[in-house]
Amino acid sequence: MTSFLEVVDLVKHFPGVKANDGVNLTLHKGEVHSILGENGAGKSTLMKLIYGLYQPDSGEIRLEGKPVKFHSPRDAIRAGIGMVHQHFMLIPALTVADNIVLGDEPGGITYKRAEAEKKVRELSEKYRLEVDPSAKVEQLSVGLQQRVEILKALYRKAKVLILDEPTAVLTPQETEELFSVVRHLKSQGIPVLFISHKLDEVRAIADRVTVMRAGKTVETLPIGDATPQQLANLMVGREVVLRVEKTKANPGEVILDVQQLRVNDTARREKVRNVSFQIRAGEIFGIAGIDGNGQTELVDAIAGLLPIVGGRLRFLGRDITRLSTAERTKAGIAYVPQDRQLDGLVLDFTLTENAILRDFKRKPFSKGGILFHKPAKTYAERLINLFDVRPRDVNRHAGDLSGGNQQKVILAREVSREPHLLIAVQPTRGLDVGAIEGIHKQLLRLRDEGKAILLVSLELDEILSLSDRIGVIHSGEMVGIVPGESATREQLGLLMTGVTNGEATEVTTR
C-alpha cells in the first residue's frame, strides 16, 4: 500500500488552545480511514488544515509524497481534495446540477444547463450516486443533499474524499446507503477520510482508524484489532462504561395513560393513529421507530405542543387532553426537546437566564413583573453544580457551551422542577461518548428516584440499554410493546418496518 495523503507533526494553536498538537496521519490509496475522537478533540481543526481553511503553525502535509501548502480551499480543491462539510455548502434555491457545476460551469457567456445536467447524470451513474440533476436542492432529503455534496467534490476531480461527521444528520437507512457509496468509491480507487465520534459506524465502514484526543493523534490501528471498549477508552482517555449498569425497575403507580391517541401534524396529515400505552412511576418507556413515523407528533401532543384530534390523555388520573402546554408543565410534565439549540435553550442568554426560562414568572425570581437576579443566580449555580455543567460560570452564554453541557443545562432545568414525567427526545443526539454516559446515568438516577420517563430515540442501542419497556411505532401506530430486558435489535428492527409483534418474535426466536 502506498500512502496518498500524509500529515506529519501538524501543530495549530489558537489563543489559549492547542487545537492540533503533533498530529500524524497516513492515508493509504484505496482505504477508508476513520478519524475517531470526541467533540473538541481537534478533528475539525485537522480537516480545516487539510482543506486550506487554516494554515498550520508547523508540520507538513504531503500529497502523493510531495509537501503541499494550501492557502485557501481553492488550492486544496485544485490539488484534488474533496470535502463534504457537516453543514452542507449547498444553495437550496438552485438545482442539483447548478450546485454541482457552480464555479466551473459548462458554456461560454451563456450557461449550458442541459450540458451541466448531462455531465451530472454521467457522474452519478459512474459512482452510483443516483440523484435527479434538475431537481431543486431544497426539495431533496438530507441524504440526497449529501449525495449532491459528494458529487460536487467528484465533479471537481477529487482524488480523496473527506467526510466530516457525515452520519450526524442521516437516518439509519440513509447511513446504510452512504456506506455502500463509500465502499463503491473505495473500489474506484478514491480513498475516504471518515470523521466520526460514533464507534459502531467507524467499525462498520473503516479499514483503519486513528484516534484523536486533546489535539493529538493517540493511536492508529487496523479496525479488525480494535474492540469498541478499547476505542472508547482511547477516545476518552479513561475507562468508559459503554453500556450503563442498570438495576431492575421498580414500577409504581400509573403516571401517564395514553388512550387511543390521534394526532395530526401542522399540515393536517394524520401522524399518530390510535396509540395507547401507559407509563408508570420509576420506569423508562422507550419509543423506537424510524424517523418520521409519528414519534415527534406523539410527544409534542403529550407535551401540549400539538392539538389532540382524538383519544384521551390522563396524567396522574386527571384528564389533561385539553390542557395548555403551560398547564401541563405546571401539572408536572417536563420536556427535553429534540433540538436543544432551537427549542431547549436561548443561546444568546446566560446560563442564569436559561435556568429560569420556565419559572421567571414565579417567586422568588420575579414579583409584579420585576426580575430579581440574585435568587436566579443562586438557583442557577446550584443547578450547574448538581449536574456538573462546565464551565462552572453562570454568566456564560448558553451558546458558548459544548453540546453535552448544553444538554445538561436543559436536563437540570427540567428535572429541578420536580416533575412526575420527563419526556426526553433524542437526549444524546450529537454528543460524544463521555457526555452520553453522563446523560444516561442521570436518566437512570431519575428513574430510580421514581420519575416516569418517556424516552424517544432513533438510536436502537440507546433505547435498548435504557428502557424498561419499549414501544415500537410504525407509520403512526404502536405496532408492539416489548419488555426491555428480552428485546433484541433484530426484533425491534423488524417491528420498526411494520412487521407485527407475533411474526417478529417468531422470526427472531427461530
Partner: protein, 306 residues
Amino acid sequence: MNILTNAQLWASTLAMAVPLALPAIGGTFSERTGVVNIAMEGIMLMGAFFGVAFSYWTGSAWVGLLCGLIMGGLLSAVFAWAAIRLAADQVVLGMAINIFAAGLTAFLLDTIFGFGGTPPQTPQLPTLSIPVLSSIPFIGAFFTNQSVLVYVMLVIVVLSHWFLFHTRIGLRMRSVGENPLAADTAGLNVWRLRYAGVIIGGVLSALGGVYLSLGILNSFDVNMTNGRGYIALAAMIFGKWTPLGSFAASLLFGFATALGIALQNHGISANLLGMLPYLLTILALAGLVGRSKAPAADGIPYNPQR
C-alpha cells in the same frame, strides 16, 4: 368604461412603468447578489439631476444621460463599499443615501441654477415611433412618440432576464445571494460579484431617474422621483425578485398611475386617484398577492472569517 379601450391609456401605462421597472430591475440585481437595496430613490435622484445638468452644460442629452448613469453608478459604488466591505446595516445605509441624495440634488439645483430651476433650453432625449409597428391599429399607440428610453427599457427587461438566468455569471451572482459561503468554497469571488450586482443596479436605477428628467421632461425638480424608488422596491418584491416579474408589477403600478390621470377628466378627485399606486404598493408588500421569497442571504454581509 370606454376609458379602458382607449389606446392612449395603455400607451401611457407603458410610459409610466419605465421609471418603476428600471429601478425595480436594478434592485433585483442588487438583492439577487445578497445586498438589500432601498437606495433606488436616492440613486434615481442623482441620475435625474446630473442628467439634466450635463445635458445643459454640454448641449447634448446623450452626454447628459451618460453622466447621469455615471453619477448613479458612483453613488451606488459608495453604497456597495459600505455595505459589502464595511458590512454596514444595509437598510440604514440605503435610507442615508436617499436622504443624502435628496439634500444634495436640492442644494445643487439652487446653487447652480438658482430660483428659476433648470433652464428650459436644456436638450431632451428624443421620442421615437417604430416604423411598421406604430401603424398597427390600437397596438400602434405603444410604439408611437414614446421616449427612446421606453424602448431601451424593453430591451433591458429581456436582457436582464437572460443575463440572470441564462448566463454563467448570472448563475454565480444568484448563488452569492443565496449562500455566499457555498459560493466561496466553490471558488467564486463573493465580494466582486456583489459589487457588480449593486453597481449594475445603481446604473439601472439612475437610468430610471434620467428618464424622469430627460425622457419625459427636460428639467429637474426637487424630489421629482416622488417615492418611485420605493414603489420600485414593491414592484421588485411583487415580481418575486425577477426582471420579468418586476416589469409586470411595474406595468400594474404604471396602469394605476395612468388610470388616475385619465379619470381626473371625469371629475374624480386627483388626490384620491393619486393614492392608487401607493395602495397597491401596500397590498403588494403585505403579501396579499402571493408570498414571494427573498434570496436567502439577502441583507447579510459576508465575512469569510466566521
